[in-house]
Symmetry: C2
Subunit: 415 residues, 2 copies
Amino acid sequence: MAKEIYLDNHSNAKIDERVLAEMMPYLKENYGNAQSMHALGERAKEALEKARQQAGNMIGAGVNEICFTSCASEANNLAVKGTAEAFKHKGRHIVVSGIEHFSVLYAAKRLGMMGFEITYLPVDKHGLVSPDDVKKAIKAETILVSVQHANPEIGAIQPIKEIAKAVHERNVLFHTDATCTAGIVPVNVEDLGADLLTFSSTQFYGPKGAAALYIKKGIRLAPLIDGGIQEGGKRAGTENIPAIAGFGKACEIAKTEMETNARRTILLRDRLLDQLPKKIEYLYLTGHPSQRLPNNVSFMVEFVEGEGMFLLLDQKGIYVTSGSACASKALKMSHVLTAINADPAIGQGSILMTLSKYNTGDEIDYILAEFPPIVKKLREMSPLYSYFLKTGRRKAAGPGTDYDHEHEHEHEEVL
Amino acid sequence: MAKEIYLDNHSNAKIDERVLAEMMPYLKENYGNAQSMHALGERAKEALEKARQQAGNMIGAGVNEICFTSCASEANNLAVKGTAEAFKHKGRHIVVSGIEHFSVLYAAKRLGMMGFEITYLPVDKHGLVSPDDVKKAIKAETILVSVQHANPEIGAIQPIKEIAKAVHERNVLFHTDATCTAGIVPVNVEDLGADLLTFSSTQFYGPKGAAALYIKKGIRLAPLIDGGIQEGGKRAGTENIPAIAGFGKACEIAKTEMETNARRTILLRDRLLDQLPKKIEYLYLTGHPSQRLPNNVSFMVEFVEGEGMFLLLDQKGIYVTSGSACASKALKMSHVLTAINADPAIGQGSILMTLSKYNTGDEIDYILAEFPPIVKKLREMSPLYSYFLKTGRRKAAGPGTDYDHEHEHEHEEVL
């Protein structure tokens, strides 16, 4: 097989072999349903409760505070919609940050269509929410504030403790989507002050098919999936025991190894964050310089499109994400880059690299050698770049540079 | 390991080795996210679309009509709540049978709490819904009728074609929960006339963690899980590729092998249905004599409790379900047995055995040898049975026997 350098661990990381080993018996001989009372059911139930303990241990929660779901999106929907349904008699106002994952944003939007009022919090140029803005947004009718622990696209880590404090001063529930942080950096629900916390193991070497919502003792949400008595009535449906067992094992491993892994990926991350802007002109790092996920390298490259970089990197076996890969041909960029006020023209050239414990220094060398020529090649084909070389002027400019407003109207003609 | 005879395939059947083989690459080297555009993402996407084709093929649906979910309960919730949310402007009345799975019943109940009107259809003593009752239940405000294809507890197969016809005459959407039938008996969405159909592979040798809702082309439901663009916007969340690949493979295998499997389990089933009432006095079969799942053996045993039979069978390594195992000590029986008007005292002694292709004739011999002495032993400890032996009178009676009304009031004193 050709070289494959996987830098898309935000989308999914490779399962740890120890995690897979934990799952296998439940894919083979221990196939019982955890609700069955015979020996095969008991074995499934034991795996379920062991995983619940492991998951709770990692985030400092009690076993009865862990509600397993099928994925983080489901957990986020349960947090937002389940709170709305359960507490709508108290009020119909919900506050979310503008850079939440779509599963929070669109869950909130759905509620908006059902008569709830939604306030979207702004972020600064580094992607941080201000606790003061949270305070200002809360009203008498507010029942929930949801702000992610860290952003998947630009890696900015929010001041969650301060935000939670501001929320609790007003006796409102606080949810945080910790999908990017749990298992990667220490996450403790009490330290953070979370009433509800979403986490998933797909980024820390667990399987697809399992995630969890921490629901603080005493909080009763309406289930998203009604039916059987699974998960204490909070989530019906046959428990996906192999995935849940894997999730638990991944939590157990992360608890002892995340620090080592983080130190390791930070070294690799910082080489990229340091070297890329030196090797590639007009490359702008996004996110916060220090309040940043240990595995996140995100930036925008001027005069080129994310899709082009993505494709040429792909040919070299370097797998990344382009924030604009799914966008239309229009000058449309992700909601996150829009929220940090990135220039739309430069936002087109956004790239996200997320590292894992499997990445090596050699891989970073390879990227640092292969990536600059790719940008050079793409710029040679870029009318925006040739215009810049000829005139010294930009069609658009990045954060911290001067925007050439005189020529803004030429944009559409050129592209 | 001691003898294990697994007759709880309704709860979950053992994964077929070919299914597991199909899943393994996605648990190991092909760990990409199907939404990623690099080679690892493409491999996941291919597995997803292959499974969609396999699932569609089995039930005669187009690929774009298959919406993957994490379990049948989620698919049922999506069908019921998704229809309600999308069509509430047309009306707020929903019709379900009284013997639906809890994931339909409680989804409907939830809607009832949100201002919808729910009509529960009765069933006859065999558990069948009458198409005439369906006709009568439909009103101008009706937006959905949901009647299961077969009942998991008593195995009765509903006259779905006639019910669907009655529903469509009134231009109402029809959902059927085919969790017990798809992959076990031929299920074709056009033949049945289903607009929405839930199916899962856990009973036909697929994995936990994947199920699907067939959504007929042109029908737009509101998603249960909002967020990303997965499943054409109908179900957000990272696709559980290993489970979905396994689900697809299970569908492919079932399409060619279900007839052989059904013939085989019918032979075993019929030996039990024939011999058990001969070997055990006062044993009453439940469900329909001919309109019955090929793998379902369900009955009630008078003068004993399901829990006692369950425990002694368990000691012999025979794993079954007792419909009353989860019930309290009160004379409470399942909603299904209540709906077929079973006597509460006899309903306490309900047992469900569901067969799979792995069961053998020798296992049936073993059950037929071991079960009657278990019942005998339990009856020797039963005050109801000793009362019956002494007086020739019952405290309560089964279907088809005369109820001793004079002594009804003694019930509570005795128990």
